[in-house]
């Protein structure tokens, strides 16, 4: 990398540098793609548009998307390690999604989706951060996300599942007072003859609780959403997912 054009030193924010060290991220070989990766990792809202636009002049949009996903995977790793906190992860996911939008515009169509995932945050619960991270990671990995948002009544989850026929449903709850809605959703889905993984997670939700009802798969962290969706898309049922990820 020529010293005169070492943008990495310009774009790194120092508070972040302190919190996560200074190493390079991702396996991208092009300089511009490396910058895209770093832009996502740094949550650099102000520069993503210019960087992705520049990259798209010479590079295939799918490759740019792959760089954006690399960045988000790095964020997910930093988060798993406790170096990143939710504010950073949310900003990074915004940056990534903005980049993906630009790439899709260039392609003239949306990425081909690997499957639909319906996500929601429990009724009575307005803390939808974990869900937002899961949404971003799922989108980054090529899934279509039907985002029902926060404080979602049981009925609404059931009708969304009937309408969109997802490969997986997720539920998030942060408050100890709201998580019991999940049990109701699971039993309603079963009664309707729906057989899919219902992945539940969030601060208030324990493995014991989620594995206590049929369909339930406990999600330890938002970063598990993409591998779980991949397993669901390849035909694994909720029992197989539970066996793989829980217990």
């Amino acid at each position: 990398m020529s010293a005169a054009l070492d943008y990495s030193k310009i774009f790194v924010r120092y508070d972040l540098k302190l919190e996560r060290g200074t190493k390079e991220h991702g396996a991208q070989s092009d300089d511009i793609l490396k910058k895209v990766v770093n832009c996502v990792v740094d949550g650099d809202v102000d520069n993503i548009n210019a960087l992705v636009t520049e990259a798209l002049q010479t590079i295939d949009p799918l490759k740019v998307i792959s760089a954006l996903v690399d960045g988000m995977n790095e964020v997910s790793r930093l988060w798993d390690e406790g170096i990143y906190y939710l504010p950073q992860a949310i900003i990074s996911s915004d940056v990534m999604l903005e980049g993906v939008d630009l790439c899709e515009q260039k392609m003239g169509k949306a990425m081909e989706k690997k499957g639909v995932v319906v996500t929601h945050t429990a009724e009575g619960d307005i803390h939808d951060l974990g869900q937002k991270i899961a949404n971003a990671l799922l989108r980054a990995n090529g899934y279509e996300v039907i985002d029902l948002g926060k404080d979602v009544p049981v009925d609404e989850v059931i009708s969304a599942v009937k309408q969109y026929k997802p490969i997986m449903v997720t539920g998030t709850a942060l408050m100890t007072t709201t998580m019991t809605a999940f049990e109701k959703i699971a039993s309603r889905l079963e009664r309707e003859g729906v057989d899919l993984p219902f992945v539940c997670g969030g601060g208030a939700v324990s493995e014991e609780y989620v594995t206590g009802y049929n369909l339930g798969v406990w999600g330890k962290d938002a970063s598990q959403a993409p591998p779980m969706a991949s397993d669901a898309a390849s035909g694994k049922n909720w029992r197989q997912l539970r066996e793989k990820y829980n217990g």
């Binding site: 504010p87 803390h127 324990s206």
Partner: protein, 342 residues
Amino acid sequence: MGANLTGKQRVLNALQGKEVDRVPVLCVNQTATYEQMEKLQVFWPEANYKAEQMANLAFGAASVLGFDAVRVPFCQTIEAEALGCTVKDGGKEGLPSIRDHLYKIGEPPVMPDDFLQRGRIQELIKAVKILKELAGDNIFVIGGIIGPFSIAASLIGVTEILKSSYRKADTLEPYLEIGERAGTLLAKELIKAGADAICIEDMMASLDMISPKIYREVVAPWEKKQIDQINSLPLISHICGKLDAVMDDIAAMGVAGISVEPKVNAVEALAKLKQYNHPIALIGGVDAVQTLFSGTAEAVKAATIKAIEEGYAMIAPGCSIPPATPLERLKAMVEGSIACQK
């Protein structure tokens, strides 16, 4: 100490670092459960709106569960509603929640002149007065307020506050200021109404949500400002999550008790709290979901005994009690404390 203390004295002693006959049991967050509602024939949603029902259901923590303290309110929406947020009713099974956020970042927030007359504030104040009568000299009464950062989150939205807390913290100042003023005003009224302690729940300040740096720079100064104005009686801080990295910051604010989830390392926390020249009670020890809601009475009792051995000054669930938690598991906390009685 030979003589049996009243619940009130037991809690007070624990908060003041004095000797107790046995470790007090309480919950500094919401205490209502469906089984208590059946026993007392007082139900949500009424108990979230009307002083008498609110107090009667809250007193179940003492009369049904055998806890040493009682606490109102159940929900976390009282201040935000009085500031103008619309609240969605939670029906018989759930708590009221914030339906719409009031402001977009940048819009100047307004502190209503008649804040104390709005929403359910007067009902809450009246509920504390009724609870005091029910409690007499026997039971400790806790009034709950919401911390500045969490009220600000209700005003502008959780996602917005978290993003801004990281990149543009200065844009949050007006909402934090209103959040602090609202909680402080309410706390002063609850103190006048007879509360024995105030619990400040700042659940959005959890390290599940923000980084230690954001806690120190954005959240703590406003919590401190609030605490300095209402510390005429014991104050209890409750923040969810793994707080190890900020235990010192919370302790330094001048609270009498810190309520934590069991994911906090109690031994390390206690070592930190001992550094202060006044007693600070560590409160908690029983996981609200894994042990209380999904566990067994034996597991609850065992967790209680373990927490007492670790040095918790008061036994409590690490967070709000899930309302479907069975009575026998909640009572097992009291049994655990009695089993450790000297």
